[in-house]
């Protein structure tokens, strides 16, 4: 099927416009905001940042009677290891995002929007600035958009290096000029979000799908994919495949198809050992599990993992699972905001245990300690970062225990590069 998001040669506004771009915005502005929300609800579009929350439903939580300003925020703080789709999408099709934001803003009654983009993406931030300026020049952003009376100002805001800001309330804190520490919920952002006002936060990919939904209808979008997992998804594949990259495919595509058809199979001479199907935080699948699974919200949940951000990390059998887990634990330890006790202390503890394994200083009982430290972090913190550390730990230990045992009692890794 034809790509919805990942299109070639539409980066410039003229080309985007020539291909029918910004017509959906015009169409949306002719509808009632509630009808726009209904259309998105009908599409079954779900959040592409990781949580998979239905986008239309999220929009509908903004109270119609709320006084004062409302905000729309785009989460472009792409930081989940393995994830690189938003960066590519912004480069290829920035106006789909900008148009999607204008439509979403109209639907929820937001006069201001911010694109929070991770600080390292300086080039992409600049590219967005230019694209917004071009859209403004054409009257798609700014005052009285297309003569509708609707005003929408859109700004970019660069992060400064903190994975946690991908969590939506940490992002809001950061956008307000604070440390990116997640907020207690409730209140949820729809009630009390940016600057204390009702706010919707959506991922880049989610918002970029909106123009096509408005153009072709929610039913059309809902028919793509696999039931409740509607539409296409950007799968970003990294690791031991021949052709890593971002691939737009309908949800429900099998991992096997993604691997073999899109990615050209495994890298020469490499054998599949494990897959992290939705980013580094999602529980690992063994090769057998992966080759049997469909890539959508429900199928992956049923397989004991998650679709997450659609970041498919492919691990071959030359890799040491203990070493990889150490690499991941270093990351989560580095990125824990330090607020909640279990995450602040647990992430560091896990890294220290894994360091012991890697350095030949671990005992067999450390395997169980590792598991139970992770288990003790699950579901006990303000945000899911602790879970994001715990899930790979628990799945690695459960499914690849032999590799941990091979590291215990003074032994180190045979696979160390």
């Amino acid at each position: 099927m034809e790509n919805i998001l990942f299109k070639d040669n539409v980066a410039e506004i003229e080309a985007y416009f020539a291909g029918g771009g910004y017509k959906p915005l015009k169409k949306a502005l002719g509808l009632k905001p509630a009808d726009v929300i209904d259309e998105v609800k009908r599409s079954n579009l779900r959040g592409r940042g990781g949580a998979g929350f239905p986008a239309g439903l999220k929009w509908s939580f903004i109270s119609k009677d709320a006084e004062g300003p409302r905000y729309l925020v785009c989460n472009a703080d792409e930081g989940e290891p393995g994830t690189f789709k938003d960066r590519e999408l912004i480069r290829k099709n920035p106006h789909a995002l900008i148009e999607g934001m204008a439509i979403a803003a109209y639907a929820i009654g937001a006069g201001h929007g911010y694109i929070y983009i991770r600080g390292e993406f300086a080039a992409e931030a600049e590219l967005l600035e230019k694209a917004i300026a071009a859209a403004r020049a054409k009257g798609f952003i700014g005052k009285n958009i297309l003569g509708s009376g609707f005003n929408f100002e859109l700004f970019t805001h660069r992060g400064a290096g903190a994975y946690i800001c991908g969590e939506e309330t940490a992002l809001l804190e950061s956008l307000e000029g604070f440390k990116g520490q997640p907020r207690l919920k409730p209140p949820f952002p729809a009630i009390k979000g940016l600057f204390g006002c009702p706010t919707v936060i959506n991922n880049v990919e989610t918002l970029a799908a909106v123009p096509a939904i408005i153009e072709k209808g929610g039913d059309w979008y809902a028919a793509i994919g696999n039931g409740k997992s509607a539409g296409t998804k950007l799968f970003c594949v990294s690791g031991a495949v021949s052709k890593p990259g971002v691939y737009e495919l309908p949800l429900g595509v099998t991992f096997r198809e993604l691997l073999e058809k899109s990615c050209g199979g495994m890298k020469a001479g490499k054998r599949l050992k494990a897959v992290l199907p939705g980013g580094s935080s999602t529980p690992a699948l063994t090769a057998e599990e992966a080759l049997a699974v469909k890539l959508d919200y429900e199928s992956l949940a049923a397989a004991g993992s998650m679709l997450g951000s659609g970041a498919v990390i492919v691990i071959d059998d030359s890799q040491c699972m203990v070493k990889l887990l150490q690499v991941l634990s270093r990351f989560y330890h580095h990125e824990s905001c330090g607020q909640c006790t279990p995450c602040r202390e647990g992430c560091g503890w896990i890294e220290k245990i894994l360091n012991r394994f890697e350095e030949g200083r671990a005992g067999r009982n450390d395997i169980d300690t590792l598991y139970s430290v992770a288990e003790g972090m699950m579901g006990r913190t303000i945000c899911p970062l602790a879970d994001a550390m715990a899930m790979p730990v628990m799945s690695f230990v459960k499914k690849f225990r032999a590799e941990f045992e091979a590291h215990a009692d003074g032994k180190t890794c045979a696979k160390a590069p």
């Binding site: 960066r87 690791g239 991941l328």
Partner: protein, 163 residues
Amino acid sequence: MAFKLTEEFKTRAEKICAKYPRRDAALIPLLQEIQKETGYVAEEAMDALALLLELPYSRVKAVVTFYTMFNREPTGKYHLQVCRNISCHMAGAEGLLALLRAKLGLAEGGTTKDGLFTLSSVECLGACGSAPVMQVNDKYFEKLDEAKLSALLEDMRHGRLQH
């Protein structure tokens, strides 16, 4: 070192503040502006910014120390930031880091005596499809290998890399 925000900076700051309904929301963008100008965020700069935005110093300092992209001391002309997270690790990031350590005679966090290079290892840069990846200042270098990295180093040494 006395640090004073220039009038030009203050004018620019007002423009940035205007993007937000509250001035203090401009704290991070303004710290980024300071870093862009001076290469790092000095204590005195934090004081000056706290004053400008009418914020407690502690908040500015907490923000600077929370976010990893703020340098608290001057870096070399080229800040080499090598990703070593999972996809880059599998693609050989450790080897690249070892190569840089050896060639530059540095450990992570160090700066060469000539002030040309600072070496850092960083976490995921969000370009895993083209691993291994290194960021030099603001610019990404992707699909690296040892040969490409060595050539890149030579370019930087001879000022052939746009910075």
